[in-house]
Symmetry: C2
Subunit: 325 residues, 2 copies
């Protein structure tokens, strides 16, 4: 059964393809009678317009790519769900790419843009050194990731978040606060969390210690870092983790090291995604405004697609209190 096309409908209705196309798109002057005839023919043949042919002509696909490390994560899961919702309302469908640990995969998704398979891209992947981004004025927006000079970044206020978390632990009376974050070399704005932590620690004359944990390493490896923290710093009584799942690992390690949380060690996390709040409501954390970040990224992308210049945006964060810190 070959696909029914415009021409089949035209023949059936006894009109030209142009007319059918006009009916389809509600464009131009048409008599009631013709419209009805065409509609009837479409129904009889169960006609479905071919989206790809239309895309070829229009030179746009109404597809936007989403490239993040993995959607199997409370933060990115919520973020991508929010992005899809908003883009859908604007008539875009979303192509999802999980690029964790695979720069080549990220690059392949970027190729979709150059191949005209998607109209734009929202990225938050962590792979380094992808040069194709340096192309100027691409319809790309990034979230919490510095990709290249010409690509606008949507981020929450990481510096303030770092200070908020650290301040909370100081207020709670912690003497020896340790921070975890990505390797300092990585081009993500959450190095600012570290800066917030370090500056505040210095202001209070405290020793600042940051352990590095790559986002993309497997969980057991991450857990081992926290085990090491408590082994090397038995005096540690406060942990500011750079995300909530790491905060959980910190708590596990603390308990295994024979410490009670929050009596002996207090822990503050970062992200505050909805499913984390639901599953682990006891966690004290810095909450990122995920919905607003998604909305902002979509706004910027729209402008960028319309050829307008856009600036990076920073949004506020807030601390939500659990009982761990």
């Amino acid at each position: 059964m070959a696909r029914v096309k415009l021409q089949d409908v035209a023949e059936r209705a006894g009109v030209s393809v142009t007319t059918v196309s006009r009916v389809l798109n509600n464009r131009g002057y048409l008599s009631e009678k013709t419209i009805n005839k065409v509609h009837r023919a479409m129904e009889e043949l169960n006609y479905r317009p071919n989206a790809v042919a239309r895309q070829l002509f229009k030179q746009r696909t109404n597809l936007v790519g989403l490239v993040f490390p993995t959607v199997n994560n409370p933060f990115f899961g919520q973020l991508e769900a929010e992005l899809e919702t908003r883009l859908y309302e604007l008539g875009y469908r979303v192509v999802m790419g999980n690029s964790q640990n695979d720069p080549q995969k990220e690059e392949r998704y970027l190729q979709l843009l150059f191949n005209g398979q998607i109209d734009g891209l929202i990225v938050g992947a962590h792979n380094e050194g992808i040069t194709a981004y340096h192309n100027t004025n691409l319809p790309i927006v990034s979230i919490e990731r510095i990709v290249s000079k010409q690509i606008p970044v949507v981020a929450a206020d990481n510096y303030r978040g770092g200070r908020l978390a650290t301040q909370r632990l100081l207020d709670d009376g912690c003497q020896h606060i340790i921070h975890t974050n990505y390797p300092a070399s990585s081009s993500t704005p959450n190095q600012e969390r570290r800066r917030g932590y370090e500056e505040l620690m210095e202001e209070h004359g405290r020793q600042k210690i940051t352990y590095e944990i790559s986002f993309d390493s497997p969980d057991p490896e991450k857990a081992a870092v926290f085990t090491r923290i408590f082994a090397e710093h038995p005096e540690c009584d406060g942990i500011f983790a750079d995300n909530d799942t790491n905060a959980r690992l910190a708590i596990n390690a603390a308990v295994q090291a024979g410490k009670r949380v929050p009596e002996d060690v207090k822990v503050v996390g970062y992200d505050g995604a909805s499913s984390t709040r639901l599953l682990f409501p006891d966690l004290t954390t810095i909450q990122q405004p995920i919905a607003e970040m998604a909305q902002t990224a979509v706004d910027l992308l729209q402008k960028r697609l319309a050829g307008q210049a856009v600036e990076s945006v920073t949004l506020p964060v807030k601390l939500v209190s659990g009982i761990t810190g």
Copy 2:
């Protein structure tokens, strides 16, 4: 700057478009010299083949749709991540649709298939009464959802999962076990969880009580059901929740009702997704083989795309022990 196309490359290299196309696709006999000439021209012009034009000719897009309630959920998040990984390896990209509470949205994603914008579909959405599925032999596979007679279902062994969970609570000495599940009318295989629970309860001469909670209702509403459970059944000492987030809500409600978990009430959940295990390791739950389900769904879809007949598949589940039940 107009896009560079095949013809531009051809002119530059002094050959025909056919030849360039052949070089591009590595097809037919070509002299080394020509190949080099063409490659050089492509590089000089920074040529990118237009994917949409190719799709139009080939009548396939290498895009597969994923339609689930929401990716912002530990189970679906992990499932969709696994699906994307496997489909990517086969050369497919993934269009993600979150259809929670919106049958029209689900239908729109289904239209992508009829419009030739995607080659196939993997669905696990919960909306009822979408008739377009009844079309025979569509390249669609469903996961944990009964869509129509002709569409194969990949599911974990829900009946056995229901028995496993209930048995665990019985073994723990629970006398009054209450179950939660979707409304009985909904066409999802996890009604089998309920059947497992009910049959086992009957076998033990116990009263079976199931409270209904729609997957798509907001969290506070779900929480209210558990509050009601403990108000109406103060004797309740065991909860078998139909998913892990509901298990968490059950625990919250129990604590608020002045009960200790697991001393006074034991709770067993369902799903055992990776991020749930990480954030809430204490939870006893029935773990679905999410990776295998994804792999199986992709296998079936591939066969279906190749025109082969396929059968529904049921995979085994297992109980993982925490301390809540």
